[in-house]
Amino acid sequence: MTIDPLTEPSTLRADGLALRFGGTRALDGVSLRLTRGVTGLLGPNGAGKTTLLRVLATAVPADDGRFTALGHDPRTAAGRLALRRELGYLPQTPGFHPDFTAFEFVDYVAILKELTDRGARHREVRRVLDAVDLSDVRGKRLKRLSGGMRQRVALAAALVGDPGFLVLDEPTVGLDPEQRMRFRDLIAQAGEGRTVLLSTHQTEDVAMLCHRVVVLAGGRVRFEGTPAELTARAAGRVWSSAERAPGALAGWRTGMGTFRNIGAPPAGADLLEPTLEDGYLLALDGESAEVTA
């Protein structure tokens, strides 16, 4: 399915979301729009990604600002309920009931999503377990499954009930490359016809999966657009040098022994083809200590 971000209607709109934890501004006036398809949420640790996801998943209310998703305003009880009925949420570190089987756990979540018809619910549970390729182990207790399998159970739990809005908080963390590839495929499928907000540290995930990307840092949105637009921002601002460039926003030694620098290149610099990561680092504008190595 091809999604044109320019013509696709917004399914979520947030305006000025703010949230404080004590003296810390976790969210500082976040405004954004989401459409159908997978939107990547990039940002360094402490950027406020998880907080934003928790606000959008109605886990915590914002101190200020508002958002509507799928036409529902969660500030009212009815709107919150309506949104929750269409929400699939995979937290950063999902919990599991180890003595439940994979089927039981997803069935339990399905009940909490108020799928009341037992037969239909069980068919739905089987469908999502099949979608995440866990049909063979659905009768196994979660404590006997590998970490990757459990993560897929959590995704199945998020997908059960066919939610229109899927919030995924760093779902590929801790997975090996093969599992990560499998997960990307699952997320890409999930993004077909749904609004998916994918929080991640991995720019490759965004490059491979997302039709839109939001960069968050210091509780503020630093970029909102397509991955290509984010990459394009670094055009002419990435160069190679033999030594670390003193004026670079970020720079690191490559395997070739030269330095890859991002920022304002000096005259006559050896410009390089930008990547999404370069654009992301530029969007951070030096906010993250992790971007310089």
């Binding site: 971000p5 320019l6 405004s31 998943a57 929750r84 269409e86 919990g95 108020e114 619910r121 969007a283």
Partner: protein
């Protein structure tokens, strides 16, 4: 298209046409669900949780244990069990469920804590079902275990009630205490999970609660006030003690206590819902109703007309005829409390058998059988009945079946032989009458030697011993024991003939045991021993 460079204050958005208004955004859900649908979801979750509880080893173990105990009670073969007193059986059904309740409390608590323990609570908090509805599902999940307990109670009670010799009637108020105990335990388990979310809490609670119940039962036993007995959800002295008494003399506010327990279940459940955020109008109204029900239960249990109860007990103890009815069989009169009317036939059978072995006028002398109790000191202790002094009157107690049958036969035989129940140790020791009494009591018994042992306090058939009777009984010397044993070994017809022939001598206080032995044609004992004091 080139995006605007991002700045901290201005998020970058791609240029292009304005987004479609959110009102027109595709809605994939089914919209606002009805309350009925939400409740169906709660029921579905309750069903899931019940199924999960059913797989818990503690639940299975304790249920199997309770089932075993109930089956054991049901298949127990004691004579008196053929004549169960239903107003005691109903209370007896309360002894086993607390064991099961313990397991239900611990497991319901663990189930309600599960989300917190395994870190799924935040995941679940963003799902459609509110936290307080999840709590409601946990509460409802223990209801089937209360129902299961009710089935056990019902099975036990029905089995006893269907016995042909069942006496009296049980109380629904007493019967529902067991299931309500299980329900209350489960609901308390859920409340504890919401109040003090730690897996140690239920264990600590059970220990503290047990100690509290022990203290309350002790204080209740010392008569320190009704509240210690009736406001404690579980009573350690629920095991019926003392002789059976007519239901209206029990003075147990069973129905009010059941209402109190039901109210308490509802109060605890509402507290759990409110703690979980269920501050809806319906929950608040239910809380008010639950509190009112509990208070009604408390007030209903307050002893009110104790003087009337004491007076009724006094009448039943001292002038029972005022509350009894009588029937005549074969010339004898049988008086009993109304709930024992069905046993009069059995009493008359014993009288008929004893008289059939007697001689002289005793064979046709009309007797008056009086059922007696002594509850002037309370209903929780065994009656100590003094012998009747009126000639021809025989005491019968409120227990029937088993050993009480030959004991009654001894009482009947005593009156047939001596004229009154006042046969004391001194009067019968060493003379023929004790032997004659034992023959009349046991001569027609199908297993006379075994029954002989049963009516002796020492359960033997040698030496001297106290013979049990509905009143004080009497002592049988070793020489008398020897003669009785010999008599019971001989053909019944032969001994009956001799007894009838020598009735006058055998019922005379001046006839010795040795003389009686000669008259009856059995070996004379070598020496007389002292009677048992």
């Amino acid at each position: 298209m080139s995006p605007t460079p991002a700045t901290p204050d201005a998020p970058v958005t791609p240029a292009g046409p304005p987004a479609t208004p959110l009102d027109e955004a595709p809605a994939t859900g089914s919209g606002q669900p009805g309350e009925r649908r939400r409740f169906r979801a709660v029921l579905a979750l309750a069903r899931f949780e019940t199924h999960d509880l059913l797989t818990q080893i503690q639940i299975l173990f304790f249920f199997a244990l309770c089932l075993g105990l109930v089956v054991l009670q049901m298949v127990r073969q004691e004579g008196m069990d053929d004549y169960p007193i239903l107003n005691m059986v109903d209370r007896d059904t309360q002894t086993v469920p607390p064991l099961f309740a313990l397991a239900v409390l611990v497991c319901a608590n663990a189930a309600a804590l599960r989300s917190r323990k395994y870190g799924t609570v935040h995941q679940f908090d963003v799902l459609a079902m509110d936290s307080w509805r999840r709590t409601l599902a946990h509460i409802l999940s223990v209801v089937p275990f209360a129902a299961l307990t009710a089935l056990l109670v019902l099975a036990r009670y029905t089995r006893e009630a269907l016995k042909p010799g069942a006496i009296g009637h049980g109380s629904l108020g007493e019967l529902v205490v067991g299931p309500l105990t299980v329900l209350l335990a489960g609901v308390v388990g859920v409340l504890l999970a919401r109040l003090l979310p730690s897996s140690f809490t239920p264990i600590l609670f059970v220990i503290v609660f047990y100690l509290a119940v022990v203290v309350a039962s002790e204080l209740a036993g010392q008569g320190k006030g009704w509240a210690w007995q009736w406001l404690s959800p579980v009573s350690l002295d629920s095991v019926p003690s003392g002789d059976p008494v007519p239901s209206d003399l029990l003075g147990r506010p069973a129905a009010w206590h059941a209402l109190y327990l039901l109210g308490l279940c509802a109060v605890v459940a509402c507290a759990a819902l409110l703690l979980s955020g269920g501050r809806t109008r319906a929950v608040k109204a239910a809380t008010a109703l639950a509190l009112a029900t509990t208070m009604a239960g408390v007030i209903g249990q307050v002893p009110r007309d104790t003087a009337a109860l004491e007076e009724a007990r006094k009448v039943a103890s001292e002038t029972p005829l005022k509350v009894q009815s009588c029937t005549k069989y074969d010339g004898s009169t049988y008086c009993s409390f109304p709930e024992w009317n069905g046993v009069r036939d059995d009493w008359s059978g014993v009288v008929r058998r004893a008289r059939s072995l007697a001689g002289g006028t005793a064979a046709t002398r009309p007797l008056t059988i009086r059922q007696r109790i002594d509850v002037t000191g309370g209903v929780e202790q065994d009656s100590s009945l003094t012998a009747l002094t009126t000639p021809g009157e025989v005491t019968v107690g409120t227990h029937w079946g088993g050993n009480r049958v030959p004991e009654f036969a001894v009482g009947v035989a005593t009156v047939l032989v001596t004229g009154t129940e006042e046969a004391t140790t001194g009067e019968l020791c060493g003379d023929a009458r004790a032997v004659t009494i034992m023959w009349l009591a046991l001569g027609a018994d199908p297993t006379p030697l075994a029954t002989f042992r049963d009516v002796r306090l020492d359960d033997s058939d040698k030496g001297s011993a106290v013979i049990l009777a509905p009143t004080s009984g009497f002592s049988l010397g070793a020489d008398q024991t020897t003669v009785v044993r010999e008599l019971l070994d001989r053909p019944r017809a032969e001994i009956t003939e001799r007894v009838k022939t020598h009735w006058t001598e055998l019922t005379s206080a001046s006839t010795t045991t040795a003389q009686a032995a000669k008259l009856l044609g059995v070996p004379v004992p070598k020496e007389a021993e002292k009677c048992e004091e």
